[in-house]
């Protein structure tokens, strides 16, 4: 790791100022950033820790309507506290990485990083959540911008994420056997106005909405309705853990499993 300056502000305002500095970068749980800095893939001049800002942490909501998660809320806290509002989201958080990762890693870090195999992006996109930053509100459909890319600007900090609560939802994750990220994961959310399906882990473009499945499921919310439906293998990731065709196939299996779990 290259050396850097470290600051740990206690308010968002201070963090914003610190981040305006040259080569400054936010540090949340560090569960992605620190490993990538060890590999020297990332070399910030200043790390601005968000872990000391109380306002960025916590789970609050209104039953049946929405739940808002502070950006620096750990996966463990979401797993423990979001279930009252949005069980599928809590369940997803409980299955990210391992317990020690969940005790540090945060939703904001996960979304800002937008790993193509990460779990939260699927929940955010399928739920049609809103990402709030220190500057604006961004709809999930506008937020993700391809593998490891988002529309966040330099120095922009995610402050919270608000999820509308669907009538039914579930996440099905097929583990990449080494990293335990999603080799392919499907989040299915059924709302009054229709079903949204987001797939992670599969596409070279990162998380995406599987619109064919959405229209089928909006008509008939059952796994059987999806029989024979697959997204195109073209553009799917192909690596030592699975071919593009395999990932396309898993999209179908995981979506059906999520539908079954959502009930």
């Amino acid at each position: 790791m290259y050396n850097f300056d470290f600051v740990r502000p206690s308010t968002l305002a201070e963090a914003v100022i610190a981040l305006a500095g040259d080569e400054a970068q936010p540090l949340a749980g560090g569960q992605t950033l620190l490993p990538s800095m060890k590999q020297r893939l990332n070399m910030p001049g200043t790390l601005v820790s968000l872990t000391g800002i109380a306002d960025l942490k916590g789970v609050s909501g209104e039953a049946g309507a929405s739940v808002t998660i502070g950006a620096a809320t750990t996966h463990a806290q979401v797993a423990a506290e979001a279930g009252a509002f949005y069980p599928a989201l809590a369940d997803l958080a409980a299955r990210i990485g391992d317990p020690a990762v969940r005790n540090r890693g945060t939703i904001g870090g996960s979304l800002a990083n937008n790993d193509p195999s990460a779990c939260y992006p699927a929940a955010v996109l399928a739920s049609g959540a809103t990402i709030t930053t220190n500057k604006r509100e961004i709809a999930a459909d506008d937020f993700f911008d391809g593998m490891f890319a988002t529309v966040l600007e330099e120095g922009e900090i995610i402050t919270s994420v608000t999820f509308p609560i669907p009538q039914a939802a579930a996440y099905a994750k097929f583990l990449q056997p080494a990293s335990r990220f999603a080799l392919t994961g499907a989040f299915v959310a059924r709302f009054e106005g229709g079903v949204r399906v987001a797939i992670t882990g599969a596409s070279e473009g990162g998380v995406f909405r599987w619109s064919d499945a959405e229209s089928v499921l909006s008509n008939s919310f059952s796994g059987d309705a999806l029989a024979g439906k697959l997204p195109a293998a073209e553009g799917m990731i192909s690596d030592l853990h699975g071919s593009a065709a395999y990932r396309a196939h898993l999209c179908g299996v995981m979506t059906r499993r999520a539908v079954a779990a959502a009930g």
Binding site: M1, Y2, N3, F4, D5, F6, R8, L27, G30, Q31, L34, P35, M37, K38, Q39, L47, S49, T51, A76, G97, D98, P99, A100, V101, N103, R104, S179, R180
Partner: protein, 164 residues
Amino acid sequence: MSKVTITVNGREMSGEAEGRTLLVSFLREALGLTGTHVGCDTSQCGACVVHVDGKAVKSCTMLAMEAEGAEVTTVEGMADADGSLGVIQQAFQDHHGLQCGFCTPGMVMSTAALLKDNPTPSEAEIRAYLDGNICRCTGYHNIVRAVMAASGQDVSGLGVVAAE
């Protein structure tokens, strides 16, 4: 370099750290607590697990400066007050839950975190919880038995069919 002060195993300790100093390096090098191990550079193996403010974390994936003022517990702090093995440590010894001992500090610390939340975990819960702790020696069999035993469960029937 700046000074970092943490309370480790009940004792306040300070040392010098750079921004990039990881908690594990701080513990091992600045404080001389080498019980916590480093087994990888991608945050996967769990040999480095310690408790920070009561929660299991990978000390290789946390900056020392983030731990300023925190209560840290390492494997060195797991024995009973009189120096004898604590319940979890004793169960690992009784059930041969370690061979080379390198993964062991992380296993003990993860187990302690598990049992705090879930005093009598099932086999499946134990296996799932230890997902972030790799052991290359034991095939996990005796680790899982040790965790069950540490939580007061009977493990006598698990595994050995006949020993003459």
